[in-house]
Amino acid sequence: MDIHVIVGGAAGQGMDTLAGTLGKLLAHFGFGVLSARDYMSRIRGGHNFSILRAADTTPWAFENRCDLLVCLDETTYLEHIPKLTEDGVFIFDPESFAPPGDRRGVEVPMKDLATEAGGRIMANTVALGACLAVLDLPTTRAEEMLLEAFAHKEGVGEQNIGALRAGYDAVDGPALPVNMPEEGRAGGSRIFLEGNEVLGMSAAASGCRFFCAYPMTPATGIMTYLAGIEDSGVVVEQAEDEIAAINAILGASYTGARSMTATSGGGFSLMAEGISLAGMTETPAVIVLAQRPGPATGFPTRTDQGDLSFALNVGHGEFPRPVLSATHHEDAFYRLNKAFDLADRFQTPVIFLSDQNFADTARTVDEYDFSRLSCDQHLADPAEVELPYRRYALTPDGISPRALPGQLDSQVVLADSDEHDERGFIVEDAATREAMMRKRMGKTSAIAEEMDEPLYHGPEEPEVLLVGWGSTYGALREARAVLEESGTNAGHLHFADIWPLRTDQLGELLAAAEVSYCVEANYTGQFADLVRRETGWEFDHRVLRFDGRPFTPSDIIGEVSGDGK
């Protein structure tokens, strides 16, 4: 089985809850689930929908289609009915609107039934019951979940169960029955979570002790998650602006805590000077940039990969700026931990690129292996450090023993944003400047050694090579699989670590492939530009999407097939 479900309505009608519960249920039954929200930048009204895809194996991306459409309002119907499949089903409330005759329509008086059960607010629970009936799934687990969700509100859980059953009974019979996955896969060791939660949990488990940010979509979910885990030891402070946020995490880091901030393009612009300060003072810091379409306020709730070039160059002056990215839910958990490790080892800011597509998409994954995470601040060994302590001592690899204030007996630590000498004192002379520039920039080659080769799926010598980075991983992975099934000898190379750029594998595959495509969600092809700048190599095609919507596998397959391959 492999179905797409769309639940739509005006903001405030509770489709999020409905879709979230349905997603959790399907995951509980053992299906692999992917779900995402498509919301407008407003709190009430407008057209908002959640999309959910469930299949026997966990889907990697959404297609532009729908098998079950739940219309909490007419706009949802009008917007999505064109993509409802032949055998699909749509659920509607005759009180809201009357669709033209269509055998696919299932009439459920959601608001009436909800009112009978105790309140119109439960219309979404009625709809959930109807969905379960259409899919021929039992209601027992859903009932348990409702009781849990309303445990703190006397009687409300029971009322919701009434609404659920009313919705279930209102459907004539299963119109879209799904086969339950084999026994044994249900529940157990799998988890279902959003990208922002992956990053928040990874940060907490990486020993991040201070998180400071200013709310900005689509990064805010990280702060909400971290603030919610109250006993985790992570201090969460909402800053007065992003300039404060970046400077605050540097203060915390200098003082001794692993620290992180998260923002989107506008806030990242404000952080630029602070990131440069991290470079100069050699203060570890992790900055998550959750991209959305710019320039300026752009599309606050949509996705984009248009800030890559900015991230690679953010902040004035020259200093190493490693850039990593979130490709998918499994990898990102471990990769953010790597960002913390790089920051501490090389005493440098590390930029971690996410985007709305990753941040707001939930996916089922096997539980994480926390023993794979490391937490080593790479601090100076008090027994070995030379005294008097010099924060910026010149060493062959450019990495000075880093001590925290108060860590070494009778020694002080001076961090300085001016060009400085080994002690941290302001200097003006050319020789020290040159030595310090070489020291800081010299770390780049060692950082490059730590960058992973991109992930590759496909034959050793592909005819068609697809290349991407960041959150397009899922769409590319599915596209490649479909191409392969239809007889195209295709490979997919995907970059999670972006800068310093690894090029060995890319070079070999480009040489082997007859035609290459670089796929990214921006207007100019910023990653392709980076590759050209570093190597002189040019992809045959740049497949670009910049309408704020994530790539679908079909978008990519269409480009490749359109090329006669």
Binding site: R209, A252, E367, Y368, S374, V412, D418
Partner: protein
């Protein structure tokens, strides 16, 4: 006895006669009086002549960006309240570039002492008007004289809710030391705005100009009376009050974090596996 805070420092590059020398001396004396060791003190500054202080005092130091000293303190206080934290910066740095941080950190009530070297001018960039420059002051940029009303740091601080508000003058060193000690010992955000003549760029508010005007706040002033403090803070001109305007205690930022903070600094005890329970919330 030699002052430990004046040893092993860089040599000040301020102009001879600059008021900053008096602040350095007063700060070093205050720190000795407080009885802390250099490694227990953290000086945080922005950029400007005043902000060079961490280079001239033997203590831990974070000399960051223009206007951004206070946010650095927010992070530092969040993770290691064991260090005694002092923010040193100029009037431009604090009230101009860093104005937003000034407002919001008074609200936060970090347990820090904030010493603002108020020379009513931008010293480091050679004499432009600062937020506290007097009306009419002519500079290379404000060629027709300053037309914006001066920023009044003390009344702003009082209005936003600061618990310790004082003004000092570099020409009265002993009095200044007392103020600095009180501010360092005060549990919460303590502002000391220090009148500091800039002998090179401020030809109006000179040492003698201040000397003719400063008057110590009378002993009978009630430092717990905010309205009285506000009235005093509005005095500027023929008579300029110095001393403690206001002092009351309230819960600090650090108090609010006490439940949440673990491993104050360093992560030696931390093992990522101890956080495994976090994924229970996402089990299906």
């Amino acid at each position: 006895m030699a002052n430990r805070f004046l040893e092993n420092t860089d040599t000040p590059t301020w102009c001879p006669g600059c008021g900053n020398f008096s602040i350095r001396k007063a700060l070093a004396e205050a720190l000795e009086e407080v009885g802390a060791n250099p490694e227990e003190i953290l000086l945080i500054s922005g950029i400007g002549q005043a902000a060079k202080m961490p280079h001239y005092i033997n203590a831990n130091g974070f000399n960051g960006l223009h206007g951004r000293a206070l946010p650095v303190a927010v992070g530092s206080r969040s993770v290691n309240p064991g260090l005694t934290c002092i923010v040193e910066s100029g009037d431009g740095d604090t009230y101009g570039e860093g104005g937003n941080h000034f407002l919001h950190n008074i609200r936060r009530n970090l347990n820090i002492a904030h010493f603002v070297h108020n020379n009513q001018v931008y010293g480091l960039t050679k004499g432009q008007a600062s937020p506290t420059s007097d009306l009419g002051m002519k500079t290379g940029v404000q060629t027709a004289g300053v037309t914006s009303v001066p920023f009044n740091p003390l009344s702003v601080a009082l209005s936003v809710g600061a618990g310790f508000v004082a003004r000092g003058f570099t020409g009265d060193g002993d009095h200044l030391v007392t103020l600095l000690v009180d501010a360092i010992r005060y549990p919460g955000y303590a502002l000391v705005d220090i009148l500091q003549p800039c002998v090179t760029f401020n030809r109006i508010n000179t040492n003698s100009w201040y000397r003719d005007r400063v008057t110590k706040i009378p002993r009978d002033h009630d430092t717990t009376d905010r309205d009285a403090a506000l009235r005093l803070s509005h005095m500027w001109g023929d008579e300029i009050p110095i001393g403690v305007f206001y002092r009351v205690e309230r819960d600090t930022f650090e108090d609010s974090l006490a439940d949440r903070r673990k491993d104050p600094s360093g992560l030696e005890q931390f093992n990522p596996e101890q956080m495994e329970y976090l994924q229970d919330a996402f089990r299906v």
